[in-house]
C-alpha cells in the first residue's frame, strides 16, 4: 500500500487544478444571466453533492454518484421522449 505522502506526491497538483476548475465553473454560472435566475438543476445537484467532500466520512465517490442518481424505482412509462441522460436527477431538484 502506498503512503498518504506518496498519493499526494502522485496526484495533488492534478486534483488541486480540478478543485479550482470547479470553483471557477460556479463563478461562471453566477456571472451568467440575470442575478435572480436560479442555477440549473444539474448545477444545484453538483453543489449539494460537493458537501460529501467535507463531511469527513468515507466512500465519497459512491455517495456522490448516489446523490446524482435517479431515486425512483418503478420502470419509466416510456423512453420515447429522450435517449439522453443529463447527469443529475430532475426529481428532488431543490
Amino acid at each position: 500500500m502506498s503512503s498518504k505522502q506518496r498519493i499526494a506526491d502522485l496526484y495533488f497538483l492534478e486534483h488541486r487544478a480540478k478543485l479550482i476548475d470547479l470553483a471557477a465553473f460556479l463563478d461562471r454560472v453566477d456571472r451568467a444571466g440575470e442575478p435572480a435566475e436560479p442555477p440549473d438543476f444539474r448545477v444545484r445537484a453538483l453543489v449539494r453533492a460537493a458537501a460529501v467532500l467535507t463531511d469527513g466520512a468515507g466512500s465519497r465517490a459512491r455517495r456522490v454518484l448516489e446523490m446524482l442518481s435517479d431515486p425512483s424505482t418503478e420502470p419509466a412509462r416510456s423512453a420515447a421522449a429522450t435517449k439522453g441522460a443529463s447527469g443529475a436527477p430532475r426529481q428532488g431538484a431543490l
Binding site: 502506498s2 502522485l10 459512491r62 454518484l65 442518481s69 435517479d70 419509466a76 416510456s78 423512453a79 443529475a88
Partner: protein
C-alpha cells in the same frame, strides 16, 4: 505486454486505431452490437450491421494481428419500439453460428422504460434457450443505479441463467458491489468524461479485489479512447502494482470469462 479489450466498437474506429492498439499489445477484442448514433429504419439495417460484425470487422482486425469477436442484439437505445425489436430478434439466430459470435450483447436498459425491459427480457430468453454468454449495458449517468437494480432483478427472475456467464458492464463505485455480490462479472469502462477514469478503475480494483472484474475502453463514435486499457495498465504500474496484477485485470480476467465460449481465441 499483451492485453484484451473486451468491449470496443471497432466499426467506428480507424485503421490507425487498430495499429496503435496492436503496438500497445492488444491481441483480441470483443465488439458488442450497439446504437450507431442514429436509429436504424428497419430490421434489414440491423441484419446488415450483423454482417459487418461477423465478416467485415474480423477481417479488418486480422490485418493488425488482432482477434475479433462480437455479440449480437438489438441495443437498449433502439428498444422502445416492440414491433421493430421483435423483427430484429428474429434476425439474430441466423447469425449465431458464425465463428466469431460469443453471445448476446450489449443488451440492457437505457432510460429504464417498460418497453426496454421487455426487450431485455426477450433477449435474455434467447440467450438462456441457447446457453449463450451475455454482455449487459447499464444506463448512463443518473439512470445507472436504478437501471442496474432492474437488470439484476430481471436476470434473477430467469432461473436458467448462471450469473457467472453474464458480464454487467459500465459499473462504477455505486453499482460494482451489487453486481459482484450477485455473482456476476463486472466491467469498468474507461471514458474521458463519464463512467470510470483509469485512476478510479485502479481504485476500484484496490477496494473490491481482482475477482470477476475487467476493464474496457468501449471506444466508439463518441468521445472515447481506444487506448484506455493500456493507459489504465500504466496507471496501475505507476502506483506500484505488480506486472502479474496488471496482466490479470487486462488479460487473464477477460480470457477467463470469454473462454466460457469455445469460440474465443486470444492467440494471434
Amino acid at each position: 505486454m499483451r492485453y484484451i479489450d473486451p468491449h470496443i466498437h471497432m466499426v467506428s474506429r480507424t485503421t490507425d486505431d487498430y495499429a496503435a492498439m496492436a503496438r500497445c499489445g492488444c491481441v483480441a477484442v470483443t465488439e458488442p452490437a450497439f446504437w450507431a448514433g442514429f436509429d436504424r429504419s428497419s430490421a434489414a439495417g440491423f441484419a446488415d450491421y450483423f454482417g459487418q460484425l461477423t465478416e467485415t470487422e474480423p477481417a479488418r482486425a486480422a490485418q493488425h494481428g488482432i482477434r475479433h469477436h462480437c455479440w449480437l442484439c438489438i441495443n437498449p437505445k433502439e428498444a422502445e419500439d416492440p414491433g421493430l425489436a421483435r423483427e430484429v430478434i428474429a434476425e439474430i439466430p441466423r447469425f449465431l453460428d458464425r465463428p466469431n459470435v460469443l453471445g448476446i450483447g450489449e443488451i440492457g436498459l437505457n432510460k429504464n422504460s417498460r418497453n426496454e425491459l421487455a426487450v431485455f427480457e426477450a433477449q435474455l430468453d434467447l440467450a438462456a434457450s441457447r446457453g449463450l454468454l451475455v454482455l449487459v449495458h447499464t444506463p448512463h449517468l443518473e439512470d445507472k443505479l436504478k437501471g442496474t437494480r432492474m437488470i439484476i432483478d430481471a436476470i434473477a427472475r430467469d432461473s436458467r441463467i448462471d450469473p457467472g456467464r453474464v458480464l454487467i458492464d459500465h459499473v462504477e463505485e455505486h453499482t460494482v458491489a451489487q453486481v459482484l455480490d450477485a455473482g456476476f462479472w463486472a466491467g469498468m469502462t474507461l471514458y474521458p468524461d463519464t463512467k470510470c477514469t483509469p485512476q478510479r478503475a485502479a481504485d476500484i480494483f484496490e477496494t473490491f479485489g481482482l475477482e470477476r472484474l475487467w476493464i474496457n475502453s468501449a471506444g466508439d463514435w463518441g468521445h472515447s479512447d481506444p487506448l484506455a486499457v493500456p493507459k489504465c495498465r500504466q496507471e496501475m504500474a505507476r502506483r506500484g502494482h505488480t506486472a502479474q496484477t496488471i496482466e490479470r485485470v487486462s488479460y487473464a480476467n477477460p480470457l477467463e470469462f470469454l473462454s466460457q465460449s469455445p469460440r474465443f481465441r486470444a492467440d494471434a
